[in-house]
């Protein structure tokens, strides 16, 4: 059963479709790059990474131009043991399904669903949900599809395991002249490749790691499309950053870039709106739907597509005639709706050449520290005597943590430090003790931006933030984060918090992430999950005692 080609390869392919990678193996890097084309990285702790081969991953790879033979060859080339037969069969069969169904147009522009063989068409037509979306049978292998059903049909087909390739093309949109500025600055090669690959293959998603310049890929796509563009982003801060970046890097002027938010509702040839606006309801109805048809958009860009709110999928189903570009660092969604991204935005169109990006040094590693703090006896008794619901708050806001935060801030004096908390009074207390500004959900947008700007400038060295800081904002020079309290250490949250410290740093300082944990309290339960998730993300993890803190780190 030992693979003859590479009897000691770095991969172990298991019958449950997970693939383990031995990181220390000399061929590990090559194997990882080839594998990431069709398998999703699930966990990446220090020595063994776990990938999973999913149907969607295989179809995404197929859509990006890889064949099943390529994929199996990768597995065979690097596998330590023989590939389980179920996996071989599964990969071949699954990949073989892609392309058997095609959505296209005839000469008169009528939408058609065509199958390579009639049996497939017969099989899918047996499903009630799919049958309801097929209009009339034109020939043995072809059904007519109505324009409104294009997105829904792709969704339903994917659900029953028959992804349809959408070759029906797009409306050009109203042309709008623009280009990238040529002032000694240009797209990196892989960014160019991403843009070209996207345009060649239609709609879809470009996956690039944090800090690899997704915004610029968006700008590059706009410069190729030269058409009216709608950009959907996660929040207003992010909207401003997009705007700034576009003004800085392209020929677009302030007159041409509009912001559609709670405050201003400018519809311009290039309009930036938040998902929140789009999904806002008034009297039970979406209040800003008109935006989607306000201009003849030739391109719709979805930023952070893994965070796209579910109602936007529904709206996107009706936008299938417009070219769509999704940008993200990961295809994995917390809600498991990766399939809808695939059907409605489009499949993955570009694989980041991770090796190249890493070699360029864009990703700086962070070290994680868990600091265990002994509660003084009085607090310990109070904690013991409290009911469960009060215990979490008592542990999270233990005054003993304040002193540790001060020591950590002193230790990293001169660096850009974020202090993250969950409770407003704790945040106020921290701000007071550290003599630092606090930023919470109630901070007005203008003030928030001013604080971020001053933090970016280095004028402000320490910033105390609540959960608002969790989403897509750039805090480039933060090299230290101290989490004093936080809600339940969920995986996504942790990754995001740390993602902040991953942004490129000009100073070259290593990043440090501290979490403060009250020993023998419920705090430690959450810490256990945190340790697991962070280590799985590949960060180093060290547990320290608060009294030996200065000596240890």
């Amino acid at each position: 059963m030992n693979s003859p080609e590479a009897p000691n390869g770095p991969l172990i392919v298991q019958s449950d479709r997970t693939v383990l990678l031995e990181v220390a193996h000399p061929l590990a890097d090559d194997a990882r790059h080839d594998l990431s084309v069709f398998a999703e990285l699930e966990r990446a702790p220090e020595h063994i990474h776990t990938y999973r081969i999913t149907k969607l991953g295989l179809w995404n790879a197929r859509a990006a131009g890889h064949t099943s033979a390529d994929m199996l060859a990768t597995l065979e080339k690097y596998s330590k043991y023989a590939i389980p037969q179920v996996v071989t069969v599964d990969v071949t069969e699954t990949v073989g399904r892609y392309g058997r169904l095609v959505i296209e147009r005839d000469e008169e522009g009528v939408l058609l669903l065509t199958a390579t063989d009639a049996a497939v068409l017969a099989e899918i037509a047996r499903g009630k949900k799919v049958a309801a979306l097929l209009f009339e049978r034109r020939s043995e292998n072809t059904y007519v599809v109505q324009a409104w059903a294009r997105g829904q049909l792709k969704q339903e087909l994917l659900k029953i395991g028959w992804p349809a390739e959408d070759l029906a093309g797009y409306t050009p949109g109203t042309p709008h002249e623009m280009s990238l500025l040529d002032n000694g600055w240009h797209l990196r090669p892989y960014q160019n490749d991403a843009v070209n690959s996207f345009f060649e293959q239609g709609s879809g998603v470009v996956v690039l790691p944090c800090g690899a310049g997704k915004t610029l890929v968006g700008a590059g796509a706009m410069a190729v499309g030269k058409t009216n563009t709608l950009i959907l982003v996660t929040n207003t801060v992010s909207a401003r950053q997009w705007r700034n970046e576009l003004l800085k890097r392209t020929t677009l002027t302030e007159e041409e870039v509009g912001e559609y938010s709670g405050l201003v509702k400018d519809v311009k040839p290039v309009t930036i709106a938040t998902y929140q606006m789009l999904t806002a309801k008034r009297k039970g109805e979406y209040a800003h739907l008109a935006l989607l048809d306000a201009l003849d958009w030739g391109l719709v860009i979805y930023d952070e597509v893994h965070l796209l709110p579910a109602p936007v999928f529904k709206l996107t189903a009706d936008l299938q005639a417009r070219r769509r570009l999704g940008l993200t660092a990961t295809l994995v969604r917390e809600d498991g709706r990766e399939g809808d991204v695939f059907s409605l935005i489009g499949p993955k169109r570009f694989d980041a050449p991770w090796k190249e990006i890493e070699a360029q040094g864009f990703i700086s590693p962070a070290s994680c520290f868990e600091v265990r703090i002994d509660l003084p006896q009085q607090d310990r008794l109070e904690y013991a005597a409290s009911a469960d619901d009060v215990r979490y708050r008592l542990a999270a806001t233990a005054p003993a943590k304040l002193d540790v935060v001060k020591r950590l801030v002193a230790k990293h004096a001169g660096e850009q430090i974020l202090v993250i908390g969950q409770y407003l009074d704790q945040i106020d207390e921290l701000a007071l003790a550290l003599d630092a500004p606090a930023l919470t959900g109630s901070t007005p947008v203008a003030e928030r931006e001013r604080l971020y700007q001053s933090f970016r400038d280095g004028t402000t060295k320490v910033l105390v933030v609540s959960k608002v800081a969790n989403f897509s904002v750039d805090l480039p020079e933060a090299t230290v984060a101290i989490q004093v309290s936080g809600s339940f250490g969920s995986r996504q949250e942790e990754a995001q918090r740390l993602g902040r410290l991953l942004r490129p740093k000009e100073s070259g300082l290593p990043a440090n992430f501290y979490t403060l944990v009250a020993r023998d309290t419920v705090d430690q339960d959450f810490a256990q999950n945190r340790q697991r998730f962070l280590a799985e993300q590949g960060y180093s993890y060290t547990i320290l005692d608060s009294d030996t803190l200065d000596a240890a780190a």
Partner: protein
């Protein structure tokens, strides 16, 4: 030719004479479950019922059926008394062209007797009327006649192997590996907690789910794995639940190939010898269809019951990698040709090679990059919990798993030493921290038993103080018992687990203050008394269907026999003690039983006789 009621009378007499073990064996073999059996006559009637006979014949192999058909043929000959002597039987078999040696023939007759399908009397062997009726009807049901039964087997399928042997072996090795791992997990899980067997047969659903989870397989696959484990003697059935046999533990520490050898060997041992002989000669053909048609031939009345059994057997062969893609694998061929040891050696070369070192990671997980040598796996399991048992197994260390290891005598040093010895990359800091912290704190709080409940003691007063005010512990009603000690009226296990869950560094100790491991709390379901064995219940009932004293027992039995004879108007021989103490036999056609007397017509003397029951010492029928 005796009537069916005569059969009932005679069979009831035979049944009564059986010991409890034989009787139980018969009830099981004939699947008698009905609770409506009051005495031996009821049982005899049940066993002579056509439906029951029909069912019994489905499970007989061809040679035994041939033997039975010879007896039936003899029973139908009016010229004889229906009995056949051993020499008559062998003459007839020889006539039919059936090769039958003496030991085989007597073994077959024994089988028939154990199933109460035939019996030996003074005149030789004979079978019952209902059996004769049943066999007479066989041709009309499309089943063979005696001549057809005696005909030899003609192989029908000769399909040469066209599959690539390499592919077959790879698939077989993959299956063999997965099945052996899963069986090991299932057995290990039942070592921790036995699985319940339902009275109607089959595992209890909650246990099936538990085992499926432990082995990482689908719920539907558990039955086959359990079957394989039971066949290999790794599990035994004991008062309603499955427990692990004594030698299962050492077996599981052997290499995967060796464990596989035992599982495959047990599969082979259970094959009927003739199938084995036939298959052994055809080890390089496709034999799925061959196997099925051969079994259909061998068990001509087998029907669905046999098809299910064969299906299960073939399925097991696939699971074990004895066959793959319907052709025997290299180890499968060797198994049939040369036995389990040779097969196991070949399988060892096909299985993924074992590793002796693992990766310890920051997230406290441990991954073995290949199958971990079983002895290392067993030790690692005392320190870490298995998360997935597969080609590359993963384990996770937690405070609970380290405490468990400390409780069974490991120390921080011994754990660290073991982990260092198997780690490819040293011990990550968070793991070292966890081990050191757990060991340093372990046993700071001790729980032990008192006559009225339990005590909690600790040298750290602050800990005890916190426990006293701890809301989560209020259910334990802890009270202070002087310095350094608390008391609870609950037992030490309850107190131990509650403190442990509330994160106090607790250990249980015995009267000498030595730390003892506390077993995990058993689920309520496991504590239920096992369901009574229905077969034993029937045997019990049969034994009590007549009064206890042997004297009364015999008397009641006599009356029951007479009663049956009267109802069926059977001619019987009655032995009566006359006044001088000697015995006289009367052949009577009984007409009535009452007032302590038996009335009947004596055919020989042509008179009506009335005999006092107290004088009757024996009754016999013609059979």
């Amino acid at each position: 030719m005796p009537t069916s009621s005569t059969s009932t009378l005679a069979l009831a007499g035979r049944l009564r004479a059986l010991g409890d073990t034989e009787l139980g064996g018969l009830l099981r073999a004939r699947s008698v479950r009905d609770a409506g059996i009051g005495d031996f006559f009821d049982l005899a009637e049940k066993l002579l019922d056509r439906v029951s006979i029909h069912a019994a014949l489905t499970r007989l192999d061809r040679p035994t059926l041939t033997m039975l058909a010879v007896l039936a043929e003899r029973g139908e000959e009016p010229a004889t008394d229906g009995a056949a002597t051993a020499s008559e039987i062998s003459t007839r078999l020889a006539q039919l062209g059936v090769p039958a040696d003496e030991p085989t023939a007597s073994r077959q007759l024994e089988t028939l007797a154990h199933l109460a399908l035939a019996g030996e009397t003074d005149g030789g062997w004979r079978t019952w009327d209902t059996v004769i009726d049943e066999l007479r009807d066989w041709p009309s049901q499309g089943l063979p006649t005696l001549d057809e039964l005696a005909a030899p087997w003609h192989p029908q399928h000769h399909v040469e192997i066209d599959a690539d042997q390499g592919t077959t072996n790879a698939l077989a090795a993959e299956r063999a590996f997965a099945t052996t791992m899963a069986v090991a997990e299932i057995v290990t899980e039942q070592q921790n907690e036995p699985a319940r067997e339902l009275a109607k047969g089959g595992l209890a659903l909650p246990d099936v789910k538990r085992l499926a989870l432990a082995a990482g397989v689908e719920v539907d696959d558990v039955h086959a794995l359990q079957r394989i484990a039971v066949r290999a003697g790794l599990l035994e059935h004991d008062s309603g639940q499955w427990t692990v046999t004594a030698d299962a533990g050492p077996w599981l520490l052997q290499s995967t190939a060796e464990v596989w050898g035992r599982l495959a060997g047990a599969w082979l041992d259970e094959l009927p010898s003739d199938i084995r002989t036939l298959l052994a000669g055809r080890t390089h053909d496709r034999w799925d269809e061959e196997f099925e048609s051969l079994v259909a031939w061998l068990y001509p009345a087998g029907g669905q019951w046999m098809r299910d059994r064969v299906g299960a057997r073939v399925h097991d062969a696939e699971l074990l990698g004895i066959i793959a893609n319907a052709t025997p694998s290299a180890p499968g061929s060797l198994l049939l040709d040369e036995g389990a040891d040779a097969a196991s050696r070949t399988m060892a070369t096909l299985l993924p090679h074992e590793v002796e070192q693992v990766y310890l990671q920051h997230d406290l997980s441990i991954v073995s990059p290949g199958p971990l040598a079983p002895r290392l796996d067993a030790r690692l399991r005392t320190i870490a919990t298995v998360e997935s048992h597969a080609l590359a197994s993963s384990y996770r260390v937690s405070p609970a798993s380290v405490n468990r290891a400390l409780a069974v005598g490991e120390t921080a040093e011994s754990i660290t030493e073991f982990l260092s010895s198997i780690s490819l990359t040293g011990i990550p800091q968070p793991l070292a921290y966890l081990i050191a912290e757990s060991a340093a704190r372990y046993g700071l709080v001790r729980v032990g038993r008192t006559p009225t409940g339990s005590y909690v003691r600790s040298g750290i007063e602050n800990l005890l103080g916190a426990m006293l005010v701890d809301q989560g512990l209020s259910a334990l009603s802890l009270t202070r018992e002087g310095r350094g000690e608390l008391r609870s009226r609950y037992d030490e296990a309850t107190v131990f687990w509650t403190l442990s869950e509330a994160r106090y560094p607790v250990a249980a100790e015995d009267a000498d203050g030595t730390i003892v491991p506390l077993a995990r709390r058993r689920t309520a379901a496991a504590a239920q008394p096992p369901a009574p064995d229905p077969v034993l219940a029937i045997v019990e009932r049969l034994r009590h269907s007549t009064p206890d004293a042997p004297q009364d027992n015999d008397r009641a039995w006599l009356e029951r026999q007479l009663d049956a004879a009267v109802k069926a108007r059977l001619t019987i021989t009655v032995t009566v003690t006359v006044q001088d103490g000697s015995s006289v036999d009367y052949v009577l056609e009984p007409t009535g039983l009452g007032g302590g007397r038996l009335r009947g017509r004596d055919r020989k003397a042509d008179v009506e006789r009335t005999l006092p029951l107290s004088r009757i010492t024996a009754v016999s029928s013609e059979v």
